[in-house]
Structures are given as C-alpha cells and as structure tokens.
Symmetry: C2
Subunit: 529 residues, 2 copies
C-alpha cells in the first residue's frame, strides 16, 4: 500500500526507507501538550517481513565476523553518542520533558555511552560467555549468539533503556546478535537519531547493515506476530505490564525467550529505630527518591511500609510538607498522567486515604505530588489492588501495628525489582529486621539497607530483575555487564569437536585472557597440553 | 473422600499416608505384559494442597539451614542408593524391562549416586552460585534458593532422571529447595523405593521432613493447577512433548520457570569421506547407539543425514543386516510401543520407505528394529512431519543429492539436543563440514564430531539442552554440575546491606573456597579490606 503522507523513514537493512503504513502518529511535547511536527508510520507486516529477513542474514554474518568487530562498533557508537549528546538531549527533551541538564546530557547520556563501552570491553574479552572446558572428556561449551533480538524500549529512559541504545540493546549486540528496535511511541524522534548514529558506526566499522534496524509502531497483532516469528531468537521488553504480558504469551507459545521488565512498587520498610535516629534525613532521602524523574523510575519507591510508632505522623507530615514545597514535575505523556490519576482512584476506592496531591495540573502533563495511606489490615484485605502501580510522583504508605502484620504485608507482595529496609544503626531494630528481611528477600531481586532504590548502578553485581511479575524470570538481570549479556545467548557444547573447528574462546590457547571454567576452576590460563 | 482399596502410600511431610484418591493404576511389566500387583493412587487436589503447604514451610527452613546440611543429605542419600542398588534394580527391571546388569545396577545406579555426590560437593563449595562482588559500590549478588520445585521424571531413566533421584532432583536440592516429586507412571514402585531412601537420609541428616515428597499421578487438570500454584517456584519436566507443553503453558501464564526436556531426533550427518574411510566402524557405532536401551535415549540418533555417494547403499545394507541380527529389545511400556508404531505409520504415510522392521513383536512390548529412508526433497516438502520422533529402536535416513540440499535439511530442523557430524580424518570432507556445521549448530545444544550422541557425560562442560522444542530455553543444561543447579535459583542482590547480614557466600571472608567474581575477576580469595 502506498501513501502520500510525508512521514519519517524506517531503517531496514542499512537503508532509510518509507514504511508501508496505513496510519501515522505524532509524539507530543508533554510540557506543552502540543504535538510535535514529525509524523511516524505505523508499519504493516510487510515492513516486519523485510526487517526479519535482513536480520536473519545479518545474524550469521555477525557470527562469522566475531566479537572484536562487534566491540569496535559498540565503541564507535558510544563515541558518536558522546559527540552528539547535545542534539540528542534537545530532541529527547522535546519528546519527554526530561531536563536537558543534568538528566539527559550529563547523567543518562554518559550512562548510555558508558554501558556501550562496558559491553564492548566484555565482548572483546569474553568472560561473559562462561567458557567451560572438561579437558579429560574433551567436552567444551560456551554461550554463543542466538539470532535476531527484538528490543522494545520503555518511555522513561529514552537513552539508557532505548530500543537501539540502551541496556538490552548493548547486551544483545555484545552477545553477537542483530537488533530489531521498536521505538517507544513517546520518543520516536529520539530513537531515530540514535539509529542514525548506530548506522554511521556500522558503516565505519564494517558490520552487516542490518545489525541495527528500526521501526516505530505496529498493530498489537503484528507485535505479537513479530515476537513469535521463527526468525526472532529472543525479545527484550521494558514497559507496561499489560502489553508485556501479551508479548510474553506470544513468545512463550513458540518457546522464544522473552526478558521482561514490568511494573514494580519497590517496597521500602522503615523500622521505628531508624525513624527515631534519622527522621529528617530519611524524610529527605525519600522525597528525593520518590520525586526523581517525576517518580518515573522502574525502581521508584511506590510503597512505604511503616511499623506504627511515635514518629509515624511526623514522617507523614514531613513528606506532605516536602510534596507541597516542591513543584510537581512534568510526566512523560498524557497517557502516564491518565494512568496515574486512574491508579490513585483505584487505591482510594479500595480504601486508601489521599493525604496530598492526586490532581491533574492544568497546562502540562502533571499530577500534584501524591501521598496515600492505608493501614495494614485494609491492605491485607486486598493486596492485589493495593499493589496497583501508581507510576509517577506518588507513593502509598502502609502502616502496620505489629512486626507480624508488617511481615504479612511483605509476604503478600508480588515480585518486585527492589525492597529496602531502613533500620537503626544502634541495632535497636535488629529483631524486626530478622523477621522482615527473609520474607521481603523472597519477593525482590535486590535488597537494600538504609538506601533508596532509585539508583541502579551499572555494576557487575547489580540485579535489575526479580520474581514475576517484576520480570519474566528470577534468574536474570537487565542491568550489569557481563551478566546481562548472557540472556541473549544460547549455550552450545562441543563434544569431541576437532580443535581447529572450535570457536576461538574454546581453543587451548587463550589470547583474550577471558576467564574460563576449566576442570572446575576459573582461570585465565591456556589449556595445558 | 475415603477409600477401601489397599493402595500404596504417598509421602507427605515425612509421613507415608493414604492418598485421597478416587482411582488407582498399576504399572505393567513390559517383558510379560502383565500388570504388577501394587495399586498406586491418582491423587486428588487435597493431596497436593497438603504437599504444597509442607513444601512451602520446608523452603524457608532449608534456607536457614544452609548448604552444608543439604550437602550431607545428598551424600547420605547417595550412600543409601549404592547400598540398596540391587533391590532398586530388581524393582526397576520389573517395571521397565531395563536389564538389571549392566544397565541398572552397574551403569545408571552409579551414575545416579555419582550425580548426587557431585551436587553435594557443589553445594558445599558454592561456585555454582556465581557470587559477584563490586567492592567499590558495595553491591553483592549471588544465586539463592527459589522455593519448592516440582519434578516430573521421564520413563526412560528410572534412576538418573527419576523425580526423586535424578539430575533435576539433585540440582533443585543442591540449590537449596524442597522437591515435590511426581513419579513417572511407568515405574511408580521404583520411585517409591527411592523416596523411602530419601526420607531415611532426611532423618539421618536432620533436614525438614518435607524436603522430599512424592505422589504418583494426578489428573491433567490438577497437574496444571499444581505447576501454576503460587507456592511452586519452579518446575523440571522430562518427557513427552504433548504433556510438557501443557505444563509449560500453565507455568508460563503465572511466570513460573519451567525447565523442559522434550523430544529430539538428534540428527547425525555422515559425510562421504568418513564413510569411505570407516564404513564398517561407522555402521557398528551407529548400530550400538541407535539400539542402546532399545533406542529409548533422549539423545537417540533418530535422524541420519547422508550425502549420496558410492557407499550410501552399503551403509544402509550394513544397518539392515545389523538390525536383523540383533534381537529387538523390550520397550518401556505398551504406550511406547504404540507410539513407535504410530510414528512409523506417520513417516511412511508421508512418503518414507520402510527398509526394515516397523512391526510389533508378539508376547512383549517390542517393535522390530526399524529403519526408514527418505530423500531430501521429500523431507523438505514437509519437514515437520518427517521430524516426528519415533521414540525407540528406529531411525530415519535422509539422503541428499548435494551439500546444499543437506544444508537445507539441517536448516529445516527444529531445535534438538544434539547434532553429530562424521567427516574424513584426511580432511576430504572439510568443505562440506564448513557448510553444514554452522547451520546445524544453530539448531542443537551439543555438536559432536565423529561420535554418536547417546553418551551424555556428567561433565561441567556438558550441555544437555538445546533450542525449543528440545527444551524450553536455549541457555540451560539439565546435565552437568554446577551449571544445572543454577536453573533452580533466583538471582539476589544485596545493595549496601550491612556485612553481618550478608549470606556467608557474600561476606568478605571466603572459607568455603568458592570461586567468586570480584571486581570482574574470578577468584577464591577473600575480599581485601
């Protein structure tokens, strides 16, 4: 089907071309509510078909090229991002209202190029692949590229989790796979600029043209068809639970690994001794964390669990005061704004008390800073409803009358990315900690002490993951190199394979210095002849 | 509901008790076709409910006890198996017709106790948990127990893959989880004996009584309800594709990890130069492999891919002769016999030529040794049908006219556990190898050279896994310690957690000598203060 609408191009096999589109969309500047001028196509299946075919061929070419060229690409791309960060931040600011500085240009930008460089280093060195050698049996195995990976990026980190720039992208490429990026509809223009830079880096470093491809939007049906296509080897998705579970269902049915990062309320337990010691400090820490990025972090502290004590009211008053003194930030889109208002209504209808905020602010995509409260018994009467994620600058405080009740609330939680416990440095809360921590630990991917969850360090020891429905599998992390790379790989074993036919990482000599697990010991040494 | 049928007991929370059963089944001696006397209950949901509750409590107790006691249990259990191997082999022989010696008592028995001891050593030492420490950020993570694991064992390895004795069992326990075993209906008596020994080892070593529980059969509905229950943390299933996919669908819907090992035809490519060099040797190797255990190995070579050459007919004649000279073994059950006959019919209806066998043998569960042949073009006209698994002593030979055709056949394959390529030692087949190997590698978990796939060494470098539908996820292996253990674990990160509250494996001191990934280096050292 042809069209006369002047719209943005999609990236197919190294060429910017017109989409086969029956409809178009525009992103909206959330700070003004005005649509931005560019029209982006909603691709039909024929675009996917072309992209899939090109990705499938690129996958085998990439496997032949090997990790060094791939690492060069990741480094070159990181350099281009750094060199163009001003331009990227300006576009992203128009599309998301996230501040150019420090957020986009000084924080998320460097984080994004830094991740790509870490991925490059990991690809070059090879420890990520868990090469395992049994010299006695002559059996050798390692993680290898899997094939084309579809990446669906979220709205809240246009750079660091972007479909063609973020953590899933970096991991999928470092593992040796081509990426099919589906831009998030709230920042298609930003994603397009990243894809332009990626293509430039591809050309500079001689990777297959289809190593990075981009489309902007699909019908729900075509989205499901895409992830279930046999040419797609794995999927990374970060976003809303509803859409994520639809894609999971389509991928599961054909046995395609899908790595999800869905909603999470990130419980923060503040024990009485901690409040007694550090009331003002804790209030301030919480305010900073919950309002950071207008609360639109995956690890935003959306649920605070208190054991009632003489400082409880002072904490609530402190938060209310802080909320009223700080301007409500701009949300990413009117859809985020509407979802937040709807979540507040769900929570109050179920019996939560609205202590502050909960109202739309005229003239921009904003909701006043929102604090809700519920007692533990009420929470326990319908834990599912009270775990409704209010994505944005909002948090629900649950107040328990006893540590047992607090533990019951913890036990009723769904899987979350994080759980925090603040306790007295004096040891006064240690008894309560020992009751709560094992219960909370079961429900979260990352347990923090005396620290808010919003910092997600790009560390090899990070787990940005957790039990369902925070993610789709409790064994994987989306952040942290080298671990995140292994998600997009297949374990391959070479049994009695002649030495010249082994992949370099499994040969006797180990020039890259990768750590390998040889006869049950991790070592950088060669296999001894 | 109560019953007056005298039936075998199920194992619930350390007690052998009558099942709540409305119906019963008997296993059948496949060598005689006669039912064995014991009646086994088909449990109703109330049995599951009791078992789940007990397993859920045991999971937190086990986590408190820690790995050393768990390792002691695995060792004690292995010793009991060795001490009782004669009794176990006799019962298993009655139920499965697998030979007492060497198969059960001398091969599968020692393999089973050996796996349990390897799992014990891995649990005690801790490298399996991938402890990862970022000393600068004070972020530490490792794999930890996940919760109750349901294990559904297959019919073909009553010991080494048994629900309460095999590889999934050993891995789930070593990770620190209680196991709910669902016996395979073809050898419930064997499984019961194992559970008795497991309970004895539990009592000797002081583990929670519900560390190992057992039931024999459930309705399909209750089976799905069981794996989807929120108290079940993960599932291991080895068996038929139909039942496995039903369970997968139930587990996927609630985000519970399920590790499947389903059907696999295990393609073996024999290149012309290899046949030229080693015709008799290769024929003999193939005969031994395809008839081993009456062909009832997960890695049985069910598909042979030949490039037509002057030795093709001689190879086929040699196999036919070997098949006719060797008695057909007894199959595990009449259901295996019927499935094999049905598969042969499916293949011949689609156009495969039956070269030998394919008939039931009267008086026992046997089918005459079966060889089928099809040309590559026919195969490619309906690859799905020609990959119908003929589980048992049968194999289909595909004959291609060119290496391109051979590669097309390889590309059309579903995911398999193994793929083998035989090539000339002279290098005469190297050109063909280079065309076929990359295509085949994409479709299999383990690539072999010059070796049949039926040996699955318990090696750290083994991959007994592969792309869907051979398994449910291409990144995991069911055999090979320590890697298999990590499947039944959750990644848990400790961010800024006070040092006395860290699990032992993540503390600065490293008394167990586990390898830990500290600041991007694998080391057995302590964290330097």
């Amino acid at each position: 089907m042809s069209t006369t609408v002047q719209s943005e191009m999609i990236l197919v096999d190294g060429t910017w071309q017109s989409a086969d589109a029956a409809s178009f969309f525009q992103s909206v500047n959330p700070a003004t509510g005005e649509p931005l001028p560019e029209k982006f196509p909603v691709s039909s299946w024929s675009d996917c078909e072309q992209i899939l075919q090109a990705a499938f061929s690129a996958a085998s070419e990439l496997k032949k090229l090997g990790p060094l060229k791939i690492a060069n690409f990741l480094d070159a791309y990181a350099d281009l991002i750094d060199a163009n960060i001003g331009m990227l931040a300006e576009i992203a600011n128009l599309e998301t209202a996230l501040p150019v500085e420090p957020r986009l240009a000084k924080v998320e930008g460097p984080r994004t190029s830094g991740q790509l460089r870490q991925a490059a280093a990991a690809a070059r060195e090879g420890t990520w692949a868990h090469a395992t050698i049994d010299t006695n049996a002559n059996i050798r195995s390692c993680l290898e590229p899997l094939g084309p990976v579809c990446v669906f990026g979220p709205n809240n980190f246009p750079f660091a989790f972007g479909s063609v720039s973020g953590g899933d992208f970096a991991a999928a490429i470092a593992a040796g796979n081509p990426v099919i990026g589906k831009a998030n509809s709230s920042h298609p223009g930003t994603t397009k600029k990243f894809a332009e830079l990626a293509l430039q880096a591809i050309e500079e470093t001689g990777l297959p043209a289809a190593t990075v491809q981009l489309l902007y939007r699909l019908s729900h049906e075509d989205g499901k068809r895409l992830v279930a296509d046999p040419r797609v080897a794995a999927v990374g998705y970060t976003g809303s639970r509803g859409a994520g579970l639809q894609l999971k269902s389509a991928a599961d049915a054909v046995g395609t690994p899908i790595y999800l990062e869905l909603s999470s309320v990130n419980p923060v337990v503040i024990l009485p001794g901690a409040l007694e010691e550090r009331l003002d400090e804790l209030t301030e820490e919480f305010l900073t964390s919950v309002l950071m990025g207008t609360g639109q972090f995956c690890t935003n502290p959306g649920l605070v669990m208190l054991l009632r004590n003489r400082n409880t009211d002072a904490f609530l008053e402190g938060v209310k005061k802080g909320f009223s003194e700080r301007a409500a930030g701009v949300l990413l889109s009117s859809s985020v704004q509407n979802s937040l208002i709807a979540a507040v209504e769900t929570l109050t209808s179920a019996g939560a008390e609205l202590l502050s905020g909960g109202k739309k602010i005229a003239g921009q995509c904003s909701v006043s800073n929102t604090l809700l409260k519920v007692d533990a018994q009420r929470f326990l009467s319908d834990p599912e409803v009270f775990q409704t994620e209010a994505f944005g600058n909002a948090s629900l405080v649950v107040i328990a009358e006893s540590v047992q009740e607090l533990a019951q609330v913890a036990a009723s939680l769904e899987g979350n990315l994080t759980g925090c416990i603040y306790s007295a440095t004096s040891g006064a809360d240690d008894g309560e900690y020992d009751v709560i921590a094992p219960v909370l630990l079961n429900r979260v991917g990352r347990l923090l002490n005396d620290k808010m969850p919003t910092g997600v360090a790009v560390s090899p020891a990070m787990n940005h993951g957790g039990p369902f429905p925070a993610t789709g599998h409790p064994g994987f992390t989306a952040v942290g190199i080298p671990a995140s790379i292994g998600r997009f790989a297949k374990l391959t074993c070479y049994d009695n394979v002649r030495s010249s036919r082994l992949p370099p990482l499994l040969q006797d000599k180990n020039p890259s210095g990768a750590f390998r697990f040889i006869d049950l010991k991790w070592t950088q040494a060669d296999v001894q002849g």
